[in-house]
Point group: C2
Chain length 354, copies 2
Amino acid sequence: METKTMNIKVEKAKTSKIGQVDFNNLAFGNVFTDHMVVCNYKNGSWEVPEIVPYHPITLDPSAKIFHYGQSIFEGMKAYKDGNDDIWLFRPMDNCKRLNISAKRMAIPEIPEDYFMESLKALLKLEKDWIPQTPGSSLYIRPFIFASGNGFHASPADEYMFIIAFAPSGAYFSGKVKVLIEEKYSRSANGGVGFAKAGGNYAGQFYPTQLAVDKGYNQVIWTDDNTHEYIEEAGAMNIFVRINDTLLTAPTSDRILDGITRRSILKIAESEGIPVEERKIAVSELIKAAKDGSLKEMFGAGTAAVISPISTFGFRDVDYDLPETPNSYAALFKKCITDIQYNRAEDNFGWRLKV
Amino acid sequence: METKTMNIKVEKAKTSKIGQVDFNNLAFGNVFTDHMVVCNYKNGSWEVPEIVPYHPITLDPSAKIFHYGQSIFEGMKAYKDGNDDIWLFRPMDNCKRLNISAKRMAIPEIPEDYFMESLKALLKLEKDWIPQTPGSSLYIRPFIFASGNGFHASPADEYMFIIAFAPSGAYFSGKVKVLIEEKYSRSANGGVGFAKAGGNYAGQFYPTQLAVDKGYNQVIWTDDNTHEYIEEAGAMNIFVRINDTLLTAPTSDRILDGITRRSILKIAESEGIPVEERKIAVSELIKAAKDGSLKEMFGAGTAAVISPISTFGFRDVDYDLPETPNSYAALFKKCITDIQYNRAEDNFGWRLKV
Ligand SMILES: Cc1ncc(COP(=O)(O)O)c(C=O)c1O
Ligand SMILES: Cc1ncc(COP(=O)(O)O)c(C=O)c1O
């Protein structure tokens, strides 16, 4: 798609809510900034995005979002360095993935320049909202949903694209305890698991709640056919270290192709860490946990960054991960966040200055 | 749950839109009546439902429905007989299925009396909207969605339950041409296919559009593991007649347990028709189509009623169904609609007078 500079119309909020926010005590995703990007799809095309005050959305009760789950989203972050410069991490990857999700969900693709230019304009306007407290960042939520009306089960004729910002603290506090799930599944072969589609998340809530009730933080999904191989977690791809080899499941139409995952694979390559992208059997994990070759497990995702796993549960048995010196999780976390916060050279070309 | 008579508060619309509606030319689900039921879940419980004028819904951009697809629905119809009496067909089955869907999607279950009493009250108020043109009926859409806010991927703390009505004509016009799908899937083992969850429908739009582009009306889904067995269509369960035996796939966690399907199985039993609920291989269908033992195929669902299939496509070959005298589809359609419109004895106790 053609990329051009646009004039994004800005309607400023009359007052700012920023004074009411305690930036030292941010939870995840429950405080929103003063403005948002809104862009409507009508009569067969996307209108030019505008920046408007953050405000409620009004929809007919028959709007298809309420009935048929036609919605997709992205999750990104903006970072501020010591010079007050603003940085994004691989934003075009999010833009392209949003459009991959769009296609699978029969949602019209958003022009890349509409996405990028409106995002940058909103970031410039809201720059004071980007937290500088360590571990905090500005969480960015681009999303598209079906705003067109009607009870016929078919794609809507109107959509809304919105970008909203939430200054946020850590997604998880502390190490994560996960349960390997054998009964419920996240996605099907030939399904929509590779898309960041709304329904993929709602479907995880109930099984995750059952795991939380047993004392775990998250579920690790297995393939829906045999339940023998681990796939990914609710909002993170999963990495395993056996001896010195880093393992992760291959992407497929059931697994989200995570940008953090992709970055870790590149860093591992440049660090000379042996990597295997292949199916990981639960039985292999348990064997490795028992014989001591399982050194680390961690989740990787934009919201959770790198989240070390302390324990995994399987069939009512808990397996604790050891404390491993020179941890890969710590190495990747440092390397990625140093690039994100402009604390180190960016040899990969991932950082974008806003 | 306890059932009690409630006093449902009614706020009447100032004017009615009914004069603008051409009841002889109704499409499916794009005209809505003057009022709707609204019921909010807040602070851990469902408030008493109210009837209010049909009006737009206002939500924060962070409302979880926009992000995580936490939504479920039902599809029912109301029928009017020659005496202006109003009838529902197995409404408690819809109410119970809505709560089955609710549980799987981590949505709080709606009290059965809230559902039934508010539905009946709304039907009485909107009785003039129930079409009497043959083939038309009042389509009823109960639905629940996550109205609570926040970007954290976890269940919402607030929900809205709404019942809206749409006087509607036929869902399909004429016989249906279907494509048996081998690549894309509707649902996973251990997934949410048995729930009437929004995301199940959005996931079908793209593959269905590909089938429509090839000249078909609908997709018949196969199991996501082998793609060898037929499951159901987008909004219908599928029945096959081989010689005089009626076949349908068993329900599972991948298939919606349709109320029309359930009713057909009962009628078949009472008519002495041999029935087999078992896996149906695509190869078996093709063999039967070739040797002439495949007599009928039809879809069954509330919206589509009984929809005879004229042709099924598989791997670029079309197989035409023959014209079969004493068709089962015609028998079931007559039997079910005669009960629905109060034209015949209801030996099954399915009809409920409003
Ligand atoms: C299901 C799922 N897997 C993995 C990820 C990690 O992807 P990324 O690293 O691009 O954030 C996410 C979330 O972002 C996700 O929702
Ligand atoms: C996926 C699916 N299968 C089958 C059906 C048929 O179910 P019922 O007969 O209860 O309407 C429906 C719709 O209602 C449906 O959405």
